[in-house]
Symmetry: C3
């Protein structure tokens, strides 16, 4: 029999896994896009055939890197806050909805930022959804853990 | 009755929440400062009225981004190390002091870096305080967990 | 008597501590290299003797920063995934091997990226080893936690 915490930890484990896989996909596409644009930043890399040395990234590479940095600003923060939040034993349906919605928002954010650029507010909405879910969890954590002071 | 771990986990939950809220404030001010300077990096954003396209951030935006990056280098590391540390059941007063001192140092760091730039060593001292607290917790973790080998 | 989880948590505590110490070393070398190159980005820092103000980092500083950023893309993700993974109570030998191998790969990555640049694929191999270990843990987490749905 799974405990209440284990059930929620399982949801956490799946979402954490998918979000980190997404981080890796973006990290690898930096390399792939850089290879296709043939502009590198490290002198030792420029020795490879056809590579040009530069102090500035190609715009297409810089775009993927900005998407990646935005992930780094949001995903680790969410994974720490939501790990605390599942210890408050939230409603199981709410737990599913918020965790999967965050993950979906970040996947769409990456898609419309790094791969199929569309005008705002698509990217902004995805970013805000992620931030609001995290903020909601923080407030729930504050309310729940206040009892221990 | 709260267990000893729950009491410490509650302190952790509050500090983690405040630090992530601070991260979000800095993230939003990047957008606000960028809007006020009217220089954007993404072509799809430049279609908005009065926005100028550039490959380089405006200096004021670059400054907020550096403050943000410094947070990303320090806050997730602290939140992981301190999560391990509370499992060593440190003295409750020590736990309060170190956790709140770290959070205060990071808030002041952001203030003197991103919003009211003052000459060094103000920024450096805040950074060092955060690093020293994290290092102290790492050493305590090493001592405590050595018993399990 | 240590529980099975405590034994694995101890391995986690040691590796997390060493990886964060490494992050700090890289963070400090950014400052040291910047000091030796005498090029700063913040106006308030340029008031110190002999410092030149610039909007772009010196190449040697930019290199250390790229190594640091690569750490930030990989180490927090690993520390969250491996924290979940130890809750699946993996074989203790496997736990030692994978955790220490990841840490070693990241130490070597930093060495060959930031301090003793060598031509690829040295840096790439270290990066891939870290990614593969993290992906393996994610898959193990998926298999283990699927039972709770």
């Amino acid at each position: 029999m799974a405990t209440e915490l284990e059930e929620r930890f399982a949801i956490y484990a799946f979402n954490a896994g998918l979000l980190v896989i997404k981080l890796f996909v973006v990290a690898f596409s930096t390399g792939v896009v850089r290879g296709s644009k043939k502009v590198v930043l490290n002198e030792e890399d420029s020795k490879r055939k056809g590579m040009e040395m530069s102090t500035e990234e190609h715009p297409a590479v810089a775009r993927v890197k900005r998407a990646h940095l935005n992930d780094l600003e949001n995903i680790p923060a969410f994974l720490i806050i939501s790990l605390v939040w599942i210890h408050t034993i939230p409603d199981i349906v709410e737990c599913h909805v918020l965790m999967w919605l965050f993950t979906t928002a970040r996947f769409v954010h990456t898609a419309v930022y790094a791969y199929y650029p569309v005008p705002q507010p698509a990217r902004g909405i995805c970013f805000i959804v992620g931030v609001l879910i995290t903020l909601y969890m923080i407030v729930r954590n504050f309310i729940y853990f206040a009892q221990f002071f």
